[in-house]
Amino acid sequence: MLSRIAESLFWIGRYTERADATARLLDVHVQTILEDPWAEEDLVCRTLLSVMNRDAPSADTMVGRRFVLDSLAFDRSTPSAIAGSITAARENARRAREVISTELWEAVNGTWNQLPAHMMPSRPHSFFTWVRERSALVSGIVDQSISRDDTWNFLVLGRSIERADMTARLLATRALAGTTGPDWPTLLRSCGAHEAYLRRFRGLGADETAAEFLLTDRLFPRSVVHALGQAQACLDALDPAVGKASIGGARRTLGHARTNLEYGALPDLIEYLPAQMLAVQRACSSASETIRQRYFPSGALTQWAGGVL
């Protein structure tokens, strides 16, 4: 497979998942600001911006949900906002048009076409619902219509890395904002994890168990550990590690992050949750970079140095 195509596939996976996860993250926070009389809008919004690594306005201006929505949901110019990542996913799908199935292309392109009609600042919840539905459609088509060859592996690799990264960010918002942000059940619900969590812990879990669930549950697909494990499985399929003397590259970065959570002492994880979550995000970012260098190094432009040879 062409490196350029592989790169596009990887990023379709990432952008689609990012749109979905950002919609979920924003949905609970916007809902909390509205519903919970004790939520401090300014603090919640600033936490969100900081976790998404955005600059917040200076401390003397109030940051409201409108600002957060504009910069994290409706901004089409940057791929770290929902509208932007939908646009970027579509651009990447266009580049890889010949290897992805027509169904997938139409789902991705259709999402982008419908985007302006759904961006209604007064009804953020319906926008987020729509984004989640479209992302579910895209990933469903990926799972149904793409052979389990490298095409699928790159798509799912991107999706898994993004998912680990975004779940870590979600946990970080809570760890940073404390009780001013959404409570744990709300966060779980935002990941579609509330029912799964209730079934595992029989409903009476303390807050620590909610964090534990989203971090380390090995069976729930949105937990950090599961997402990292899935990413590793894709890397293994792309380049089997069997018979090799050592593992390196992205596999080590992701494996280190995963085992740290999976086998680490839970109280320590909880106590240092924000730092742990930063570590996960860094691991994802560094793995992404290693994957780029290994599989699609085209970013390094060959330049004519002139006259040496």
Binding site: R4, E7, S8, F10, W11, R14, Q31, L34, E35, P37, W38, L43, R46, T47, S50, V51, M52, N53, A56, T78, P79, S80, A88, N92, P124, H125, S126, D165, R174, A175, L176, A177, G178, T179, H194, E195, Y197, L198, R199, R200, F201, R202, G203, L204, A206, D207, E208, A211, I270, E271, L273, P274, L278, Q281, R282, S285, S288, E289, R292, G299
Partner: protein, 532 residues
């Protein structure tokens, strides 16, 4: 502004939004202004969205086999903190008295010996079950969940209309109303501090767990439903789902060896607490109706052995018998030594000959209800009934005076409700839900506001064409204390975040321009660049 309120008629009833002079009450000012800013088309659009979310979620009510979205009205009902602080303790007090009464009826029967209630009142009640005699609940709780129906009379005073301590339903609508309203009307929520209802499932599970038989570690709690065709099935599944417990039907249970088990793919699993949403009569074909397919034979025997807790307890119906209702104020004084905090509605006991004669004379101006009915079944509103209906009723009252009570027509308070002609006053009641975990009685802030949609209609039951409203209790104090290490707010570390990655190829504006130029100016040799 507020053209939706144009022509809003003043009625005899207490209107919760407008006072007698037509001014907006302070508690509703915010809601009134927010609704007034919407055009009628916009408001109807939102109302449609509300109905659609309910269809999608399956929040439906089954009327004669047809599934309809449970009607939820766009205008919320607001209860101020002061009002709620007078209602909630009254509800809790009532539940404590009902608990004491049930423990007494199915135990020593002191109240009968002391002459507070006549023996025949208890023994003649349809829902007094001798099979429940002597079953001692592990933590002394029989009324794990109750719904106390309140109304607001013409003076704005809350009064208890009836108690529901068998299987009160409707709490799922409280939970989903709030969720739907917050999604569809975000601006109504802004700047109001509304007490959350989300902790209900947790409270309920805690109460059920606390009621487990002695010595059971980590009890297995299940919700017993009559099945998917039951009108309240949505509620059963919502409660099971939000508590993380199994939702079982009678056929999933098997009683053997003095225990209750459920059939699972891993063999039998013991069941310790059954939150049953099946009526007493159908619970155990051995003890009650032998043709019942909804229960499990042997359930009562296991309950008697104390190996399983049935919640709410069997036989609770004797306490919400409408004739017993007339004795509740006395029972509160007798058991608790307190004065009742909530007023009742004046009621005639038709067994007393003088009362019967008076009621028969004034039937056209009274409300008559069967004592063991629920859901508004069999209820007759005198002023709305025809002469033949009244004559028919007279005969029935003479034949079975124990079976009926009569009350004056109370003008239920009204709240603006979206109907054909805009926002119009419609009568509402309020059903707060109370959960008793044995330590204390917790009352869910708010509860279910049911609204009678036809004009002037005073019966609000959903089986009689009633809808509901989201009920907002305004609050000022924060609920739960900060305890776990996760709850400590930490300093937000700005600028420490990990950047969000983007594909380097998404930022190659230069390359893009070149490709576009190539497309516009085909290469002289005919080799075109990549088309855009």
């Amino acid at each position: 502004m507020a053209d939706l309120f144009d022509g809003y008629p003043a009625g005899a009833a207490w209107d919760e939004v407008f006072d007698r002079t037509g001014d907006v009450r302070p508690s509703y000012r915010h809601v009134y202004e927010a609704l007034g800013e919407l055009s009628e088309a916009e408001l109807r659009g939102r109302a449609e969205t509300l109905a659609r979310t309910y269809l999608t979620q399956g929040v439906t009510f089954d009327i004669g086999g047809e599934e309809r979205p449970f009607p939820i009205d766009v205008a919320p009902r607001v209860v101020t903190e002061a009002e709620w602080d007078s209602v909630a303790p009254g509800v809790a007090q009532r539940v404590r008295a009902l608990e004491a009464f049930l423990a007494d009826v199915y135990g020593p029967q002191r109240a009968i010996a002391d002459g507070v209630v006549p023996r025949r009142l208890v023994t003649s009640s349809t829902h007094f079950h001798r099979a429940a005699q002597g079953i001692e609940p592990p933590n002394g709780v029989r009324v794990h969940v109750s719904g106390i129906d309140l109304i607001r009379d013409e003076m704005g005073q809350f009064r208890v209309l009836e108690d529901n301590v068998r299987v009160p339903s409707g709490v799922s609508y409280v939970l989903s109303n709030r969720k739907a309203m917050a999604q569809v009307f975000p601006e109504l929520f802004a700047s109001l501090r509304i007490r959350s209802v989300a902790e209900y499932p947790g409270r309920l599970l805690a109460a059920l767990t606390a009621a487990a038989p002695d010595g059971v570690h980590e009890p297995t709690v299940v919700v017993l439903t009559p099945g998917v065709y039951n009108s309240a099935y949505f509620e059963h599944s919502l409660l099971a789902r939000s508590m993380g417990v199994e939702l079982v039907e009678g056929r999933d249970l098997v009683c053997s060896g003095g225990h209750v088990w459920m059939r699972t793919t891993n063999g039998r699993r013991r069941v310790d607490v059954i939150y049953r949403r099946v009526d007493d009569e159908f619970l155990d074909p051995v003890t009650f109706r032998s043709d019942s397919l909804l229960g499990s034979p042997g359930l009562m025997a296991a309950a008697r052995r104390g190996t399983v807790t049935i919640a709410n307890a069997v036989g609770n119906g004797v306490a919400d018998d409408k004739l017993v209702y007339t004795y509740i104020p006395d029972l509160i004084r007798y058991y608790l030594g307190e004065e009742p905090l909530l007023a009742s509605v004046d009621t005639w006991r038709l067994e007393e000959p003088a009362a019967l004669e008076e009621v028969l004379d004034r039937l056209h101006e009274l409300v008559v209800k069967p004592v063991d009915g629920s859901g508004g079944k069999g209820l007759v509103v005198g002023p709305a009934a025809s002469a033949s209906e009244l004559a028919d009723l007279r005969d029935r009252l003479r034949k079975d005076p124990r079976g009926w009570i009569a009350q004056p027509v109370v003008q239920l308070s009204t709240v603006p409700t979206l109907v054909e002609g805009g926002l119009r006053p419609r009568h509402v009641d309020l059903r707060p839900f109370a959960v008793n975990d044995g330590e204390r009685v917790w009352v869910l802030p708010g509860g279910l506001t049911r609204v009678a949609l036809p004009e002037g209609q005073l019966v609000v039951n959903s089986s009689q064409g009633g809808g509901s409203k989201d009920t907002w209790v305004l609050g000022s104090s924060r609920g739960a204390p900060v305890s776990s290490p996760l709850e400590r707010p930490r300093t937000v570390a700005f600028g420490e975040g990990v950047p969000i990655d983007a594909s380097p190829s998404d930022d190659r504006s230069e390359q893009q321009q070149q490709q576009q130029q190539q497309a516009r100016h085909p290469h002289p040799t005919g080799e075109a660049g990549a088309p855009c």
